[in-house]
């Protein structure tokens, strides 16, 4: 499969002015202000094939937005290279802009006092679209996102969910090959999130659009993406398909047991009781110490089972665990360094 995005050792450093306390320092800084270098993206490399849906995951400050800004041509990297649809984004930003769509959850491209329909008509001009193709695409997107009367209301009168659906239409209207989405579901309710996720997944499956998706909501990632790139302090910590991510990083299983008896005691090492109610027990099983089968046998020896559910922990917990391991490894490395120093 040909690459939509190819990134090699991309790095971005920012320098910011530092202010020391005191009058003397203030005068000195007038002539030579001290600056502090900060590495936002630290040599990341990855390749995304056309039509792939990739989640860019990481806590605040991990370098997700900076990476997306470099890939959409807004920022120049300090070093490294990137190709997006064969363009070098920061050198050919204008040409690339016709072929990418962007949604930045906290920014808007809609005109606040005008109906969204007016912004869509304007976007047809901005992206130099054929008007009949534009109309067809608009109709399809309106139907998919269930927008009707809202289109003709001034944007200021729309709810956040309706506005975000309009933002998604605006970003897909010119039929881009790649869509960069930076927290597109932030602050939305469950149904608005679901509508947006469905459309994005469908657009990618049917039209082969490549999606690069950042979100703090792992639900977005699970329902839209097939691969995750997890960033930590500007570096790629994990780059794997979601399936592999689950398989390799799941250390526990969640067991929900419904019993005929009101009470059932479980006292095995490697088990945490998450909740206990009459006839219902929720357990977390540490797979390094026990098999699920052993737990089930243990319970069956003490009570009659009515129902049993085995599930994976939520993706959020998996990611939290990956970060926890990375932090512990970094700490261990730094302690080893301190110990080795003379």
């Amino acid at each position: 499969m040909t690459a939509a995005i190819e990134v090699v050792e991309l790095r971005k450093c920012f320098s910011s002015r530092q202010r020391a306390p005191g009058l003397q320092a203030a005068f000195r800084e007038l002539f030579r202000p001290p600056r502090l270098q900060h590495v936002a993206v630290d040599g990341i490399s990855f390749r995304i094939a056309r039509g792939e849906r990739v989640a860019f995951v990481g806590p605040n400050g991990a370098g997700k937005s900076t990476s997306i800004k470099m890939l959409s041509g807004i920022l120049h990297p300090t070093s490294g290279s990137a190709q997006v649809l064969g363009y070098t984004p920061w050198r050919e930003r204008r040409q690339l802009a016709y072929r990418i769509g962007t949604v930045f959850g906290q920014r808007t491209q809609l005109w606040y006092h005008l109906p969204a329909a007016d912004t869509f008509a304007l976007l047809a001009r901005v992206y130099e679209r054929d008007l009949s193709a534009h109309r067809r695409r608009l109709e399809a997107l309106i139907e998919a996102l269930e927008l009707g009367a809202e289109l003709h209301k001034p944007v200021r009168e729309l709810s956040l969910g309706q506005r975000m659906r309009c933002e998604i239409v605006a970003s897909l209207l010119h039929d881009p090959d790649i869509v960069f989405l930076d927290e597109p579901t932030i602050g939305l309710d469950v149904s608005a999130k679901a509508a947006i996720r469905d459309v994005l997944r469908e657009q990618s499956r049917r039209d082969g659009k490549t999606l690069l998706f950042t979100s703090h909501d792992t639900g977005d990632m699970e329902s839209v993406c097939e691969r995750a790139i997890i960033l930590h302090q500007g570096r790629v910590l994990v780059d794997q398909p979601l399936e592999v991510l689950r398989r390799e990083h799941i250390r526990v299983k969640l067991l929900t047991l419904h019993t005929v008896e009101a009470e059932c005691s479980v006292d095995l090492p490697g088990i945490i009781v998450l909740s206990r109610q009459p006839h219902r027990l929720e357990l977390e099983v540490d797979l390094s110490r026990l098999h699920v089968e052993q737990v089930v046998q243990h319970v069956m020896a003490r009570a009659r089972l009515q129902d049993l559910t085995v599930s994976d922990p939520p993706m959020e917990q998996i990611i939290r665990e990956i970060y926890g391991r990375a932090s512990r490894a970094a700490e261990a490395a730094s302690n080893a360094g301190v110990g080795a120093s003379p």
């Binding site: 800004k69 807004i74 006092h113 901005v126 130099e128």
Partner: protein, 269 residues
């Protein structure tokens, strides 16, 4: 018109309709326009009648005061029609919104200027009939029709130059973050050396000579004096002068945008 330029026209059109929907702001502007013309017409009437208290001279004094009201109506029309483009650009730079706007296939400053032109056009068209009405009411006389026509044509060019100057002030936000000090200095110079409230003809000779060498005078005093002194030759001369300033201001805006974008590309949004 090619699609590449059609997009800027579409932005100007959208800005026109967007501003039209902000009725309260438009009404506020019209009320301020009315108030300022009323106050100054009273001031000038009292100054002129104190200078020329007798018979036939009183009529001449009233006429001169009326000319001043029409002069102010024209200069305020140009000033009050100006959108706050510098604030929009400053806000984009400070909030980082500019970075996201760069991901579209159009020039950032071109888009902002197109927005400004749509906004400016709406305000000029809305304020013009009220300007005529208030000036007629408060001055008690009609201005020369030809003078008004020439002044309005040159006034539109002056307003476009002013818009470019505001864009340049807004782009200073890349380095200063807060453009208000630059704007305040610019505004005071424009009021004093441009002759917003008083025509330069009553300034001392040395100050008038200095003011006429600067762009401020061609933005306000030039179109303003055409109302009571209609002169096609002078109007043409002013248009050429304004055209030259527009080219210079346009180059300044492009230069500032290019350097500012470089700052953004390296330092982030």
């Amino acid at each position: 018109m090619s699609a590449a330029y059609g997009k800027y026209l579409a932005i100007a059109r959208a800005a026109f309709w967007q501003r039209l929907s902000e009725r309260a702001a438009l009404i506020g502007r019209i009320a301020f326009y009315c108030l300022i013309l009323l106050v100054f017409s009273c001031v000038w009437r009292s100054i002129f009648s104190a200078q020329e208290p007798l018979g036939a001279h009183r009529k001449a004094a009233a006429h001169a005061a009326g000319d001043y009201v029409w002069y102010l109506a024209l200069t305020e029309w140009i000033m009050l029609s100006q959108p706050t483009l510098y604030l929009d650009i400053e806000s984009d730079v400070r909030s980082g919104d500019i970075a996201y706007q760069l991901a579209r296939p159009l020039s950032y400053v071109g888009g902002k200027l197109a927005e400004g032109v749509g906004d400016l056009l709406l305000r000029m068209l809305t304020l013009a009939p009220f300007g005529l009405l208030f000036a007629r009411l408060f001055s008690g006389q009609w201005a020369d029709g030809r003078g008004l026509m020439l002044a309005a044509l040159v006034g539109v060019m002056a307003a476009l130059l002013l818009l470019l100057c505001y864009a340049a002030i807004g782009l200073c936000a890349f380095w200063l973050h807060d453009c208000t000090p630059v704007y305040l200095v610019w505004q005071k110079l424009l009021f004093v050396l441009g002759g917003l409230m008083l025509p330069l003809s009553i300034y001392p000779e040395w100050l008038r000579a200095l003011a006429q060498r600067l762009p401020f005078a061609s933005m306000l005093y030039g179109p303003g004096q055409l109302v009571s002194h209609p002169d096609a030759g002078r109007a043409l001369e002013l248009s050429v002068e304004l055209g030259a300033w527009v080219v210079l201001a346009g180059l300044l805006v492009l230069g500032l945008e290019r350097r500012g974008r470089r700052v953004l590309e390296l330092a982030g949004g």
